[in-house]
Amino acid sequence: MSLDALARSATDEARRQMEICNACRYCEGFCSVFPAMTRHRSFTDADMTHLANLCHNCRGCYYSCQFTEPHEFNLNVPAALGEVRQLSWERLAWPGAFSRLFHENGVALAAALAVGLAVMFAALQALRPESGEGFYAYLSHGAMIAIFTPAFFLPLAAVGVALRRYWREVEGQRVTLGQIVEATRSAGTMRNLDGGQGQGCNFEKGDRYSNARRVFHQLTLYGFLMCFAATSVATVMHYVFAWEAPYGFFTPPKLFGVPGGIILCVGTAGLAWLKTKADPKLGIARVWGGEMAFVALLFFVSATGLALYAVTGTAAVPALLAIHLGAVLAFFLVIPYSKMTHGFFRFAALVREAQLSRR
């Protein structure tokens, strides 16, 4: 089936389920999806895309539902919305040719990693500078910039295109600062994974609530942001203050990067562990492997980054540098076509919900 046909049938199934929920509404207090649902009597495809991207797969509405299988209504809202959401990311990705490449396929993701590594090893071989300090002794600053600037901005541009398509599909309006603030607050606390009352979600412990996923997800998010901040701040230091690497421990890049890397490692390891305990049929079973590979890649990026810092000044540096930079390169390249896109779409959905719920 084509992607569009798949999306149509997934949307029809999710719509059938939402219509049952709309006559029930018992789950209203869990998340933003149900209050958003009650604004409608019938659901357009765009409404379904919006609801699906609002759903954070907390699974509260599955374990609370009196109509799940084997009941003939056969509800599984987390999976039904999950499929619509997943297909929306794949459908709207740009360019379309890559759209499904890394979502389902852990092997493809591993291949991306291999390519990243190969590129970096080759670069280190070929572009070894005459002189330079720290990492720049192995790969000049200029070469790094030449590789990573496009590797970072091209994927971001692709994400931008996908988001534009998304925004058009859900009929989004002009964004205000207030809406951004509201969405940031919601994402910053993972409000939609807190079960509505802070008791958490139903991810890994069946019908018991737990905050483990929320905690590990936020460690991953904040760890990632700290690593990102480390890189950004280093860039600013380099260009604005002409303060060049290597940096000692008590400098902003390291103060962000080292704890950030540790937190990111803990968060991703935790997420992977939880994933092994959760019931795959309440998620999107076909992307289980791809998601796991993506979490593993993030872990690998942060772990090799930390390792690289740990081996400073030893003979292990060149090899580890190639490995770490290769992983980072692979990570950048798969951003628009892997689980990483969820962050962008989710945020857009939260902004859109801020627009709609205000009215």
Partner: protein, 461 residues
């Protein structure tokens, strides 16, 4: 199954769970025998959304206050006095301490659902509904070391010389085995799941009724106890029935199958004739009589007809309505005579008068010279597309139950049995002899489940 239990709890719904938790908290060794498989555990309780709770000031999600007198008045109104005042007031008074107790067990509440603002003062809604409540109690039971058997149908409660000794239980449909305990709590609901019994009690038309809740409440234990001389309460022929979507499943359709369109519609039977004032009162006050009204029509079916003006005035339905551009066409699609339906609608339209229409309160917009009249919300049905829903009686529960004392002890003609208690729907007839008060079923189950658990635990210790 040789383990010695202090207390056997028969049933796995709200009342059973409240009894089991209360008893297990004292250290008693408790076993729950639930006839449903694990997925369908929790009886009708899994379909509920709230319980009615007295409170003298704001309490958790409940606003303002709802005091004993008002609560009791509300009960008197719906039961037309068919209630035991002592038991009723006990239930009402104890409901107040139930809410914090429930929260301690892990039950969570949420503000009243959208579309139910009128209940925000009187009824505390469960976050995620009754299934979430049931899950919380089962988890609590697990933590307290209560043994739970699913697919475990109690066939017989053995009473010797006024004293309970053991139950005979069929596990997974096998031959009954014996489980002994020092005391027993009966919380196995009513008998509406047994269609043969329902037909004997109500009449042959009951074969066409839909059962809104669990198929596992078949009254096996109720009948067994009555056969052994337990005293009964409640009208054995009556059940609480509402009009629900005619396309609903035979069992377990739950809350979503209700239809709130009646006051804005005309309702006809299979012959295309109207038979009752659809606009007698606001829907929450009338929805319970429509089960009976439809049950009295040929083949126990009715058809509610609206036009596009009214299509969005009520909660969405679980199945989409039948839609047609003409009344004739709608009739044909519903399987009744289109010409006849068109005549009935034309007659109705001709009897409508000008006036102010107000969907959320009685607006006095009545028909003129029509029998039966429609006394509120009577607007002509003249704006296509037209919408139709079929209606069938949906049974919520039966009234026949065991007579108990205020300490939940089961009575025989010779007095109370010393180690048999009952809670929930199986004894609710003492308090709710007629009619229904939204959220009161769970209140009775929680209050008497806790009493039964407490008394049984005191007895075995």
């Amino acid at each position: 199954m040789t383990e010695a239990y202090d207390i056997a709890v028969v049933g796995g719904g709200n009342a059973a769970l409240c009894a089991a938790v209360t008893a297990a908290e004292t250290g008693a060794k408790v076993v729950i025998l639930e006839s449903a498989p694990e997925f369908y555990r929790g009886g009708n309780s899994r379909h509920t959304r709230n319980f009615r709770c007295m409170h003298r000031g704001p309490l958790s999600v409940l606003v303002d206050s709802y005091e004993e007198e008002e609560y009791f008045e509300d009960l008197l109104l719906v039961t037309k006095g068919e209630t035991d005042e002592e038991m009723a007031r006990l239930t009402i008074r104890m409901s107040e301490e139930c809410l914090p107790w429930m929260e301690r067990q892990g039950v969570r509440f949420q503000p009243s659902l959208s579309g139910t603002l009128s209940l925000s003062r009187t009824n505390a809604f469960f976050l995620g509904g009754g299934k979430a409540l049931v899950n919380a109690y089962y988890n609590r039971c697990e933590d307290l070391g209560v043994d739970v058997f699913y697919d475990a149908e109690v066939k017989h409660v053995n009473i010797e010389d006024g004293h309970f000794t053991h139950v005979d239980v069929s596990m997974k449909g096998g031959e009954p085995t014996r489980i002994a305990a020092k005391a027993v709590v009966l919380a196995s609901g009513g008998f509406q799941g047994d269609l043969d019994w329902l037909t004997r009690a109500w009449g042959p038309s009951a074969a066409n009724f839909l059962i809104r809740g669990t198929p596992y409440n078949r009254g096996v234990v109720l009948k067994d106890m009555l056969d052994q001389g337990a005293e009964s309460v409640g009208d054995p022929t009556q059940c609480h029935a509402v009009a629900i979507d005619g396309r609903s499943p035979k069992f377990d359709g739950g809350i979503v199958t209700r239809l709130d369109c009646v006051p804005f519609s005309i309702v006809v039977n299979q012959n295309g004739d109207r038979f009752y004032d659809e606009g007698e009162d606001v829907w929450p006050k009338r929805y319970a009589i429509w089960g009976r009204l439809v049950a009295a029509q040929p083949d126990q079916v009715g058809y509610s007809i609206i036009d596009s003006k009214s299509a969005e005035l009520f909660m969405p339905s679980v199945f989409p309505p039948i839609v047609a551009d003409t009344i004739e066409g709608l009739g044909q699609q519903l399987g009744i005579s289109g010409d006849k339906l068109a005549r009935t609608v034309a007659e109705f339209n001709a009897a409508c008068r000008e006036g102010r229409f107000h969907p959320t309160e009685k607006d006095g917009l009545a028909t003129d010279g029509l029998t039966p009249p429609k006394t509120n919300w009577a607007r002509p049905i003249d704006t296509p597309p037209y919408y139709g829903y079929s209606l069938r009686p949906g049974v919520t529960f039966t009234y026949l139950g065991l007579k108990v004392s205020p300490t939940a002890q089961v009575h025989t003609a010779e007095g109370p049995l010393d180690n048999v208690w009952a809670a929930g729907e199986i004894m609710a007839g003492s308090i709710l002899g007629q009619g229904y008060l939204a959220g009161f079923g769970m209140t009775i189950g929680t209050v008497f489940g806790r009493i039964a658990g407490r008394e049984a635990a005191a007895y075995v210790s």
